[in-house]
Amino acid sequence: MHLYVLRRLLMTVPVLLGLTVIVFLIMSLIPGDPALAILGSYATPENLARLRADLGLDLSLPQQYWVWLTNILQGDFGRSYHLNRPVLDEVLERFGATLILAGTSLALCVVIGAAAGIVSAVRQYGWADRIITLLVLIGISVPAFWLGMLMILLFAVELRWLPVSGMYSIYGGGDLPDLLRHLVLPAIALAVVAAGVIARLTRSNMLEVLRQDYIRTARAKGLDENRVILGHAFKVALVNLIPVIGVQAGFVIGGAVYIETVFQWPGIGRMLVNAISTRDILLVQGGVLVVAASYVLFNLCADLLQYWLDPRIKA
């Protein structure tokens, strides 16, 4: 077990390294110049050349990458050209915000998705199933940013129940209830699609499991229906759901880009979009590294959880 975890963790190193090489290459291949992005439309060739030299952009690509890599290994992620601030400070601050949003959203979509899937499967072809299936279809099809805009208009502008945007109130606030108030709308908007996916999978998995002989046996023994569904059927269906939830975690972090823009959530998705458009290579690298590492970790956790839940894997 420990060996397995260790091996998985070690395997992430080449994955992350390869990823940074690819990101570095893509950032170098797309046209546009960080120096130009900093100096703006007034940039003269002379100033550009000087700034490129200052930033180390006049080195060859492999040299630039090598400098970056050796600095990273010493814990130095560099300074963002555009924000004029250490990359690590910015990335960690922003990633924390994204984790709060994505984590809440993931919890919401797992709970709602699984509950809807179970109800749907238990009452297959009943009215609850039909309504849930319809809602799931709508949920999967609606673009999250559009749903977010509608929710803002209804709950923030018309009803004034919740704030429009941001993570904390501009004055006062800053405590947990304040954070939760700001979290409700973006977390729901972000959860909808993933909840739909999880609901569908839960339903099909549950349907399959409910047809198994041992479920009939359990019922024949006169076991309480709740225990049959949650204790016997769902536990088995969950084994197949765990890896999907791992993938959805990545999806939620990725989808956060749109939601963070609509709700002005100070997360890492919006940071990356800005960093790419300003050609802030160091910031992009740092951000991608952290997001990718977390993605790898989530999947590792999902695998471990599955390993722990499913006795067959141990054998």
Binding site: I30, P31, G32, D33, L36, A37, I38, L39, G40, S41, Y42, A43, T44, P45, E46, N47, R50, L51, R79, H82, L83, N84, R85, E90, E93, R94, L108, A115, I118, V119, V122, A128, L153, A156, V157, R160, W161, L162, P163, V164, S165, G166, Y168, I170, Y171, G172, L180, R181, V184, I188, L210, R219, N226, T261, Q264, P266, R270, M271, S277, T278
Partner: protein
């Protein structure tokens, strides 16, 4: 039996509904009195005036710092600020400023001649110990400075290497806002996030992607501001900015999308302000090769584009039709006699036929967005359609802003016939001097990407720059505008009107032709 629903219905949803109801208990949607919350279009890059190039950042800094001079309210003409008076030598190369002696920086250090010297040498002198706290992209505004000396405790003397008329208005620009040397020494590279100036509001806090807070400077030399504090919130998405305005989360927003201006204008809860600014939206035409080497073709383009329709329909009245290379906001230098090229497709067809370029194929560079570019893609498509109307076959190539600048600034030769461009400037000299002179070709570090060259224009611009007499400069600029209008190296399209929406509680707010946001006089009881 199997159908018996064993689970409580919609447990998750009802729990969520309860949670929402609990959390949403009386939410103070309105902002507190005497605190102005401003919706900005983006996170500032830095609050160091020497480093910043974006209007978005200028809006904050103009309230935290002062320059030696500033634009008088509602104009683009300079008046005293940190300097109470100044003398200019007869040859126009020595400027002596007398400084106010009652001013301190927010960090408590004294504002004096040494601080002014520090500010300019930091940007201009590579040997200066704090030159490495840059880069200073707009330092070239002050390139003409040969030396800057403290000729007294409260007297500064600038010596220019040649007469340079825009010098005073450059001093009024954000790059000329004076920073506290003590704060730069203390924070070094991080000064941009720990700014200290002499302005009406002093920096309190910058929370990344959330807010910048500045509080009133009670000792402000020009009178303490009426507001207690200003909060600048970056809200990049225009729809979200509008929603915040409607929900009462912000008191003032700039760059309102044209679609929403009418809606706010009809509502008595809001006031809409508009102000034409020193902005020009134009098409650079490649005068070196291809059809636009012929002046008749360049004029034909100017006739063929329906500028009224662009301004009314695409920009929905947020701009006016441009007549020439200098925007009307520079009242003193603007040639009133100049009329925009009328929309006249027949005249355009005649000129195209005369030039023998019927059905010419043209490459048109369009950008996706960018500083001052307004609505570039719809504008590009509308222009393409207008030109198709007069028989020109235009193919559009679209680039993201940085890439676009990387393609256009080095010149259009061998690549394109025309390109969109927009400039916002602070002096009538800037744009033509940097983008229309024979000595401003891209390979000489200029921005004349269409290679326009007319010795008469060169001469007029050189003379205007050397003259210290504003009336004489005005005459020269007017002459230059008439020539450029006729030569048509560009298609002159639009001058942007900046807009802002404020809530009814905001008093004494007005937009400035400089596009700066000045909040010193604003109150919100």
């Amino acid at each position: 039996m199997i159908r018996s629903l064993a689970l409580p219905k919609g447990l998750g949803l009802s729990a969520l509904a309860l949670a929402v109801a609990g959390l949403s208990a009386p939410l103070a949607a309105q902002t507190p009195p005497n605190v102005l919350v401003v919706g900005q279009i983006a996170e500032p890059q830095s609050l160091d005036p020497a480093q910043v190039t974006a209007v978005n950042d200028f809006r904050i800094m103009m309230n935290m710092y002062d320059g030696l001079v500033r634009y008088a309210d509602g104009t683009l003409e300079v008046e005293p600020a940190l300097a109470s008076e100044w003398q200019i030598s007869d040859d126009g190369t020595v400027y002596t400023f007398t400084l106010r002696d009652d001013v301190r920086f927010h960090d408590g250090s004294a504002f004096d001649a040494e601080a002014v010297v520090f500010h300019f040498e930091r940007m201009l002198d590579e040997a200066h110990p704090y030159h490495d706290t840059g880069p200073f992209p707009l330092a070239f505004f002050f390139e003409s400075i040969d030396s800057v000396e403290a000729s007294g405790e409260h007297e500064v003397t600038f010596t220019l290497d040649e007469p340079y008329a825009p010098f005073l208005s450059n001093l009024a620009y954000p790059t000329g806002l004076i920073v506290s040397p003590a704060a730069v020494q203390e924070h070094g590279d991080d000064f941009g996030r720990n700014p200290s100036g002499t302005g009406a509001f002093q920096f309190e806090e910058w929370q990344s992607n959330s807010r910048v807070i500045a509080s009133a400077n009670p000792d402000y030399w020009d009178g303490a501001p009426a507001l207690e504090a200003v909060v600048f919130r970056p809200i990049t998405d225009a729809n979200t900015r509008v929603a915040e305005m409607m929900a009462g989360g912000i008191d003032l927003m700039v760059e309102v999308p044209p679609d929403n201006v009418a809606q706010f204008a009809e509502d008595p809860m809001y006031a809409v302000s508009e102000q034409a600014g020193p902005h020009l939206w134009f098409l650079i035409l490649n005068t070196r090769e291809g059809p636009f080497a012929d002046q008749r073709m360049r004029q034909a383009i100017n006739y063929a584009i329906d500028k009224e329709s662009l301004v009314d329909n695409i920009l929905e009245g947020t701009a006016t039709v441009a007549a020439g290379p200098i925007p009307p906001a520079f009242e003193w230098a603007y040639n009133e006699e100049l009329e925009p090229y009328p929309y006249d497709p027949d005249r355009a067809r005649e000129l195209i036929a005369e030039a023998g370029h019927e059905g010419a194929e043209l490459t048109f560079y369009v950008t996706e967005g960018g500083s001052g570019m307004l609505d570039p893609i719809p504008m590009g498509s509308a222009i393409q359609a207008d030109l198709a109307d007069v028989g020109l076959d235009v193919s559009i190539e679209t680039y993201e802003w940085n890439t676009f600048l990387g393609e256009v600034n080095p010149g259009l030769e061998g690549k394109a016939d025309m390109a969109q461009m927009a400039w916002m400037t602070n002096d009538p000299d800037t744009l033509p001097f940097l983008a229309l002179r024979s000595d401003a070709m891209p390979d000489q570090g200029g921005f004349n990407s269409g290679y326009y060259s007319n010795p008469e224009v060169d001469e007029l611009l050189e003379r205007a720059r050397r003259s210290v007499d504003q009336d004489e400069r005005a005459k020269l600029y007017k002459e230059m505008q008439a020539i450029v209008h006729e030569d048509a190296p560009w298609a002159f399209v639009a001058n942007w009107k900046q807009n802002a929406v404020s809530s009814a509680a905001v008093e004494n707010f007005r937009l400035q032709p400089s596009f700066f946001l000045l909040l010193h006089e604003v109150s919100k009881p």
